[in-house]
């Protein structure tokens, strides 16, 4: 027993103290430009990033001018004069100096890892129409910054320029770059020349994961209106974005948001139903996968995702934490944690309490797990039935030979009510049937 409890304690500590999924923001910056390392940390932004380029809307990635200014004598001249090393990998995918065109720059900004000096951009402030009208004289919509092909009034070149470097042109609602900010922040504070106005934080931020990866495809252009011609606003999928105050908060829609429309034939065509895997996934899906969908792809109305087989057994914690959540679907509950166990357990019977449960099955279960019975029943429930003679006692010869047949089959059942010393030993001495 002591061993079991020690093992239990160990398991609890192991799970509780186990390192949790690492925050990308806390990841090492190995392989990435070490902004935080001296002497970089002591340099001003414009020492490396060309202020004029930033003000003009560019990304001002250092090194574009034959590695300047990184190749200064006091900086990294030695690395640039020597053979390629891992140092080159800070900026380059591949370094093949003897072949023209085979030394390629890595994508910038990188798609993974922490983001240095993250922007303090707030969607909430920029989508506050009253504030924008008051401060700037106009307000903006999503497409003003995330300008994609849907902006017929802009040329492809202008759209590409507005997008952040490395994200322009590819997506149809690209991330806005300095150019997009510069349209207003040329004079509206913080101005483009004040780097710290937006990039003050030295704490790396988690880079948002990308949803459209792998074989998945998505087009904002195709989500302008539904089959009935009703407009699909940005807020239909990105409902929380107008309240988000940090650039690191991005209201990427969960697949459940897609299901809302794509499982509704009044909003999405049958060819774009959730069961048509190929509509979004380029990779092949065999028949079986088409039948057994990922749960996240099923309509919301098919119970909450966390209501699993295990949840059916162990839901105490959830019921204690949020009784209102239970009450939303399970009618007749008060929504209060002080008694919601009783409110539900008195009306919902367990799955195994079927027609034969009362007559044939419940005895062995009650003997093995009386604690389970006590979750819903008080002792009177047992006694309400067991206080009266069983049917088997009503046969005419029960007192004579009849009770022997029953006792022989399951003697233990006699002792539900009788004690051998009191009721049996009067006739049976020892064991002589």
């Amino acid at each position: 027993v002591r061993g079991f409890f020690l093992a239990f304690l160990g398991l609890t500590l192991a799970l509780g103290c186990a390192p949790r999924r690492r925050d990308a923001g806390a990841e090492s910056s190995a392989g990435r430009f070490p902004h935080e390392a001296p002497p970089h940390a002591q340099l001003g932004c414009t020492t490396c990033h060309d202020e004029a380029v930033v003000v003009a809307g560019g990304s001002a990635r250092p090194g574009a001018d034959d590695h300047a200014p990184c190749d200064r004598a006091k900086c990294h001249a030695a690395e640039f004069l020597g053979p390629p090393t891992t140092f080159c990998a800070l900026c380059h995918d591949a370094v093949t100096p003897w072949r023209e065109g085979e030394t390629t720059l890595a994508a910038y900004p990188p798609r993974r890892g922490p983001r240095a000096y993250p922007s303090t951009f707030s969607h909430q402030l920029h989508l506050d129409t009253r504030r924008m009208d008051r401060r700037a004289g106009f307000h903006v919509g999503c497409g003003d910054c995330h300008a994609g092909p849907q902006r017929a009034d802009l040329s492809p070149e202008a759209i590409a320029r507005l997008a952040i470097s490395g994200d322009g042109g590819g997506g149809d609602a690209p991330l806005p770059g300095h150019a997009a900010c510069g349209r207003c922040h040329d004079r509206q504070p913080p101005t483009m020349a004040t780097c710290a106005g937006c990039h003050a934080s030295k704490r790396p931020a988690t880079r948002q994961r990308r949803l459209i990866t792998g074989d998945l495809s998505f087009s904002h252009e195709e989500h302008v209106s539904d089959v009935a011609g009703r407009a699909i606003t940005c807020a239909t999928c990105h409902a929380r974005v107008a309240g988000q105050t940090k650039a690191s908060q991005t209201d990427l829609p969960a697949i459940a948001a897609c299901v809302t429309c794509h499982d509704d034939s009044k909003r999405a065509p049958e060819s774009a139903a959730m069961s048509v895997c190929g509509r979004c996934h380029a990779g092949s899906r065999d028949t079986f996968q088409r039948l057994v969908a990922p749960r996240s792809h099923l309509a919301e109305r098919f119970r909450p995702d966390d209501h699993t087989l295990a949840f059916r057994r162990d839901h105490t914690r959830e019921a204690q934490a949020d009784a209102d959540r239970c009450a939303r679907c399970h009618g007749g509950m008060s929504g209060q944690t002080r008694a919601n166990c009783d409110e539900c357990h008195q009306t919902m019977r367990p799955a195994d309490h079927l027609v034969s449960w009362r007559e044939y099955d419940h005895g062995p279960e009650a003997a093995a797990s009386p604690d389970r019975c006590a979750v819903c029943h008080e002792a009177e429930v047992c006694t309400a039935c067991h206080s009266r003679p069983p049917r088997s006692h009503s046969v005419p010869d029960f007192a004579a030979a009849g009770h022997g047949r029953v006792a022989q089959f399951r003697l233990r059942s006699c002792f539900h009510c009788h004690t051998p010393e009191r009721e049996c030993s009067g006739c049976h001495t020892g064991f002589s049937p």
């Binding site: 008051r134 407009a231 949840f311 009618g331």
Partner: protein
């Protein structure tokens, strides 16, 4: 659809209603425009009014009315006595009424009742006994809860005080729930939660009057205390203490809980019965993801425990053992169980369970608390189109010291030796509050060692067909039909019944 409408109408309108000035093809900055004059400050700043709570969130209402027919057949050659009815017809249902902040913002009320009316009005032998037969004519109205509660009615420093009066329910001590008519007062603070409660215990089935089994409605009282250390010492721990007093029996529990949000929560509790430690229990639940959980439970009962039986706790000298269920005193035993569940490949819902109970009383003296080992597994998959298929299996092996000739006094070695159970479910659903059809089939095999002769096994099979349709978001109709397979002659003779069937037709309205 409702969710979509909410999204469309409640979310901020992000449509571009007025474009900024034309975007130039060059990135040259536009000229500054004079900002409009600031709006004059409001003369009197009005505090923001809380959003109005819709009536449907203030009112709790549920009315369920059902029609039930249960039936069994007599055995061939063993007729049921003439006064035993083979078919039972009854009306049953629930009525729940409640409010949340309707009359006063701090006031909540809740009334939960259940009723059962045997159509024949007779509680004389029924082929299928019901717990409601404990009432005259088999007709009962049970008031399960009926309370009024005030939260935050004092305001200020005493805002965490709450008060609940009426018929209420408490869960906790020794796995025993208590229903009582009385008063509970508590403090619901962020760091400290405490309550005192007491009153007259309620026995819903009125056995004292009917069978003279002793007092079942004596005074009962208890307390609870919970101190969260998160704010005090920055540790995700809480200390708990509970007490219960019932007709001379006093139970106290001390506990330590740990809760790492979103990862693991654990609790350890030591319980005393009349000043003597009787039980040490621990639970740990790890939530490794939204759908992956691991639950471990350990429970050691050192010594003979409280007989969980309110019916005779006050008076165990009635000599009416034959008038009640008599399991005897809970004996020392160790229990451990593990349940782990996850969803594999984003759909295959998997559950694995294991449990063991090790009875260590000396001498071994109870047949009703056997040593056993149990294992089980279940899997369920949801298909496109609303179809769900699931299977669950469980096996339990009992360890008993079986003797060839069992003297009557040695009842501890009697009983089943193994059980196996399999359940299959096929469910078709159009979604929550729409339409659901479900078929459940099951088989249970029980191996029993007889007193004389060879051990036998018998099989119980059955099925349930259930259809649930929602007329609208507030009304549903449910029909359930269940039938059991033929149990085999020996078991049928044991219960003196076969051919069990049950039909339930229910209509329910909720608000």
């Amino acid at each position: 659809m409702m969710a979509l409408l909410v999204l469309l109408f409640a979310a901020p309108n992000l449509d571009v209603e007025r474009l900024p000035r034309a975007v130039p093809e060059t990135l040259a900055m536009r000229a500054e425009t004079p900002a409009p004059p600031p709006a004059p400050p409001a003369e009197v700043a009005k505090p923001a009014e809380p959003p109005a709570v819709p009536l449907e969130q203030k009112v709790i209402f549920k009315f369920q009315l059902g029609y039930a027919v249960d039936q069994g057949r007599e055995l061939e050659g063993v007729p049921l006595p003439t006064d035993v009815r083979k078919t039972r017809v009854a009306y049953l249902g629930d009525l729940v009424l409640g409010t949340r902040g309707l009359l006063r913002a701090s006031l909540a009320t809740y009334l939960a009742t259940h009723f059962y009316f045997d159509q024949s009005g007779s509680a004389r032998f029924q082929a299928l006994p019901e717990i409601y037969d404990a009432f005259p004519d088999g007709q009962a109205v049970l008031v399960r809860s009926g309370w009024a509660q005030l939260d935050g009615f004092l305001g200020g420093v005493f805002a965490p005080v709450w008060l609940r009066a009426g018929r209420q329910w408490r869960w906790g001590q020794a796995g025993v729930s208590a229903r009582f008519d009385g008063l509970a007062i508590g403090w619901e603070g962020e760091t400290v939660q405490a309550s005192l409660w007491g009153g007259r215990r309620v026995g819903l089935f009125n056995l004292a009057d009917r069978f003279g089994l002793g007092g079942d409605t004596g005074a009962i009282a208890g307390s609870s205390f919970r101190l969260r250390l998160r704010k005090l010492v920055k540790l995700p721990l809480a200390l708990t203490a509970d007490t219960l007093g019932w007709e001379g029996t006093n139970v106290a529990t001390l506990g330590l809980e740990a809760d790492v949000p979103g990862t693991v929560d654990a609790a350890a509790r030591l319980r005393w019965l009349d000043g003597k430690p009787v039980q040490l229990a621990g639970t740990m639940r790890a939530r490794l993801s939204k759908v992956t959980t691991l639950q471990v439970e350990l429970d050691e009962r050192f010594t003979g425990d409280w007989t969980y039986d309110y019916v005779v706790a006050a008076d165990d000298t009635t000599g009416n053992n034959a008038m009640r269920l008599h399991f005897g005193e809970p004996i020392p035993r160790f229990r451990a169980s593990v349940r782990g569940g996850t969803v594999l490949f984003e759909n295959w819902d998997l559950l694995v369970t294991g449990a063991t109970v090790w009875e260590h009383a000396d001498p071994d003296e109870s047949s009703f608390q056997p040593t056993y080992l149990e294992g089980g597994a279940g899997v369920s998959a949801r298909f496109f189109g609303g179809l769900t298929i699931g299977v669950e299996l469980r096996a339990r092996h009992f360890y008993r010291d079986l003797a060839a000739n069992v003297p009557l006094a040695d009842v501890g070695s009697l009983g089943e030796t193994a059980s196996r159970e399999g359940v299959g479910r096929l469910r078709y659903s159009l979604g929550v509050k729409r339409f659901t059809g479900e078929i459940t089939v099951y088989a249970r095999q029980l191996l029993v060692d007889r007193v004389l002769g060879e051990g036998r096994d018998f099989l119980v099979t059955g099925a349930q067909f259930r259809v649930e349709g929602w007329v609208n978001q507030r009304m549903r109709l449910v029909t359930e039909y269940e039938l059991a397979g033929e149990p085999g002659e020996e078991l049928a003779r044991f219960v003196n019944l076969r051919g069990l069937q049950s039909l339930r037709v229910l209509a329910e309205a909720t608000f």
